[in-house]
């Protein structure tokens, strides 16, 4: 195994929920009183696990709890997890923006963090001046920056504007300039948050290329947080998965990505249970009686039927029923809808056929919209149902996942 560069040992962080006010003052006094008497923090004991959706009893929460992992030289570690799983807190602690409540982090080199591009840009200063300022904030010396200035300017593609104040730049140019500075940082350990989410496709490609370059050819260690599983797969060689503030998996990047996706699909792939949240399925005008998928577990070669049964409670005769089909990245794959008259019982019971060989093997979500004939919104529900399409055994050599939101079967001919 390569040299150990970073060791994280049982790191935890306690946060207080709610607003800071007089209540905090009494907690502070209480804590201080415990401290002078040589006792521990009374609130550290009552901290609860970081479960975002559940209402807890305690107003203190462990944003991350007992996180331990190690990273070697040249490794690119992907840190994945759902919103609020503690990724950003972990990054903030690693980059020394805030300190852990418990635990130790040991690093065998300079840690530079890139939680945001363009931190500290001053709008009145020129591009060149901002390169120096931003570089210094990120921990470079003036000498280092000067030696790389030409490279940075060229990488940013802003040569013409380099002596113009940054406030005249387009937002895209600002991001390019900022990333150019960050990309030329040379710390032993680089911590990167979702900075790739900004910028156009060309820029993203450039950024990903640069990150790979940093780890592969220069042997630097990178910690990378992203929701973009494709990026994690292609950049990282290792990964950790955070769930409710705890580290649940520590493995190869591909395995971690699979775990993460499985985690999502386990929670998503189920028809809605009507007993769980009946309120969500009913309002003054509409009651959703049933939404289902058939067959239960379709493969990519099956036709998929989306069945909707709704009751129209108001005196509207005709409704527009439509849905959007989304993938897990919440990209809308397509939307479809039509006008339907209600039957004698006041119900609309319809089914929509999605042709075989259209969707990819993936998890899809359905958002339901119902409007009146004149398109007055009557009801909507996000993620009313979700389903997974499974891959069929393929009869050619490639077994990896085929890229794309859809996977239509197209005609190939020899000419």
């Amino acid at each position: 195994m390569s040299n150990l560069m970073l060791e994280v040992e049982e790191v935890s962080k306690l946060y207080r929920l709610g607003v800071i006010g007089t209540g905090t003052l009494s907690h502070d006094l209480n804590r201080w009183w415990h401290l002078i008497r040589g006792k521990g923090d009374p609130y550290a004991l009552v901290g609860e696990e970081n479960k975002r959706t559940e209402l807890g009893d305690s107003s203190f929460v462990w944003a991350i709890q007992d996180i331990s992992f190690q990273v070697g030289q040249g490794d690119v570690l992907g840190i994945v997890g759902k919103n609020g799983a503690g990724k950003s807190t972990l990054l903030k602690i690693l980059s020394k923006v805030t300190s852990p409540t418990k635990g130790t982090i040991k690093a065998a080199g300079r840690i530079a963090s890139l939680l945001e591009v363009g931190t500290g840009f001053h709008p009145e200063l020129t591009g060149r001046e901002n390169i120096f300022l931003n570089g210094a904030i990120l921990g470079m010396t003036k000498k280092e920056i000067r030696s790389k200035l030409d490279e940075i300017v060229e990488f940013s593609g802003c040569t013409r504007y380099i002596d113009t104040p940054v406030k005249r730049y387009s937002s895209g140019m600002k991001v390019r300039l900022a990333f150019a500075v960050a990309a030329h940082l040379e710390p032993e350990i680089l911590v990167v948050d979702e900075v790739l989410a900004v910028g156009d496709a060309e820029f993203q490609k450039k950024a990903v290329g640069k990150m790979k370059d940093i780890s592969n050819s220069q042997g630097r260690t990178v910690l990378f947080v992203s929701h973009n599983m494709a990026a994690v797969r292609s950049i990282c060689n290792k990964g950790v998965l955070l769930q409710n503030g705890r580290l649940t998996h520590n493995d190869k990047a591909d395995t971690i990505v699979d775990e993460y996706l499985k985690l999502n699909s386990e929670q998503l792939v189920k028809n809605i249970s009507y007993e769980d949240d009946p309120k969500k399925l009913e309002n003054e005008e509409i009651k959703v009686l049933n939404v289902s998928i058939s067959p239960d577990v379709p493969t990519i070669e099956d036709e998929v039927y989306l069945n909707f049964e709704v009751e129209v409670k108001s005196n509207v005769e005709t409704i527009n029923l439509a849905f959007d089909l989304l993938n897990l990245q919440e990209t809308i794959v397509f939307g479809s809808g039509d006008k339907f008259k209600k039957n004698l019982e006041g119900k609309v019971h319809v089914s929509c056929k999605i042709p075989a060989n259209l969707l990819n093997d993936d998890v899809y979500l359905v958002n339901l919209y119902i409007a009146s004939e004149s398109m007055r919104p009557m009801y909507q529900c996000a993620q009313v149902v979700s389903f997974e399409i499974r891959d069929k055994v393929r009869d050619y050599a490639y077994y990896g996942k085929i890229n794309g939101v859809v996977r239509p079967k197209l005609d190939w001919n020899i000419i």
């Binding site: 300190s99 931190t119 010396t141």
Partner: protein, 285 residues
């Protein structure tokens, strides 16, 4: 696996007073760039530019001369009132700027501090240094007014004590910085003190012998004399005037010890609070 040499260790606890000088030294370029940013950008898109550095104290002194010496008949002895006020205003402004601009260090830089680590002390230090640049320019205008009166024979000074001037200036700057550090550290969680600091500076000015000589207080209102005589800022400003205008000797240095001790104590308190705050203020601000 080979034994790794740890270069950096992050833990929850930190010593009470630790000004990590080496770390700040490593970030000296950043300090310099912050100073440059502050000095360059302050008067961007103005016509008079840095001239505003000069206009400010000149006009303030002029108004003080009209109101305090003209209307209220404050006596400044043989020293021309305008020069007397100018000497006080320039030093006081340096203190006040250092204080007020560092007193919201954490609040104002929340965005940067929340995204990237560098020794937080670089930020307030850069403010003290960039105000020093401003002070330098203002001292030049003071010098020209001084020379005008000097050659018209109105002054007995300056004395040899001029060599103490750098210490006096550092005293004013560090006092401002210390109070600023204390305020900014105490206001990350509870903002109450912000309001006190804002008008506190103004009130403090009247207690610091900026537009009157200390002896005059002893004469007119002996009750409050101790408050002013033991105010280190008043002592410092008074000392500067003795150096400028009277023929004192090097023995003035003894008077320096008291404000120096006060300043050091304030600085240590400020530093301790700042250190304690910088580690986790981002969670409470």
């Amino acid at each position: 696996m080979s034994q790794t040499q740890w270069r950096e260790i992050i833990t929850p606890k930190k010593k009470l007073i630790s000004l990590n000088l080496r770390e700040i030294w490593n970030y000296r370029d950043l300090l310099f760039l912050f100073v440059k940013r502050d000095v360059v950008t302050i008067y961007k898109q103005t016509i008079l530019g840095p001239l505003w550095f000069l206009i400010q104290p000149l006009f303030t002194s002029l108004i003080y001369t009209i109101i305090f010496n003209g209307v209220a008949e404050v006596k400044t002895g043989e020293v021309p009132p305008f020069l007397f006020n100018l000497s006080g205003v320039i030093l006081w402004n340096y203190f006040a700027d250092c204080f007020s601009q560092t007193s919201d260090t954490f609040k104002k830089n929340e965005d940067i501090f929340g995204k990237v680590y560098f020794p937080r002390a670089v930020m307030p230090l850069s403010i003290v240094v960039s105000n020093l640049v401003k002070l330098g320019i203002q001292l030049l205008i003071f010098l020209s007014v001084f020379l005008y009166y000097y050659f018209s024979g109105a002054l007995n000074g300056p004395s040899l004590g001029v060599i103490y001037m750098p210490i006096l200036i550092i005293l004013m700057g560090i006092s401002g910085l210390s109070l600023g550090l204390i305020t900014s550290s105490l206001t990350t969680k509870y903002r109450d003190l912000v309001f006190l600091a804002a008008f506190g500076i103004q009130l403090l000015m009247f207690m610091s012998a900026v537009m009157y000589p200390i002896e005059m207080v002893a004469e007119k209102l002996p009750v409050i004399e101790p408050y002013i005589k033991y105010n280190p800022l008043a002592v410092t400003i008074d000392l500067a005037r003795q150096i400028y205008f009277f023929d004192g000797g090097l023995d003035l240095g003894v008077t320096l010890l008291y404000p120096l001790a006060c300043c050091l104590a304030l600085f240590l308190i400020g530093l301790a609070l700042f250190n304690k705050t910088e580690k986790s203020f981002i969670d409470t601000i």
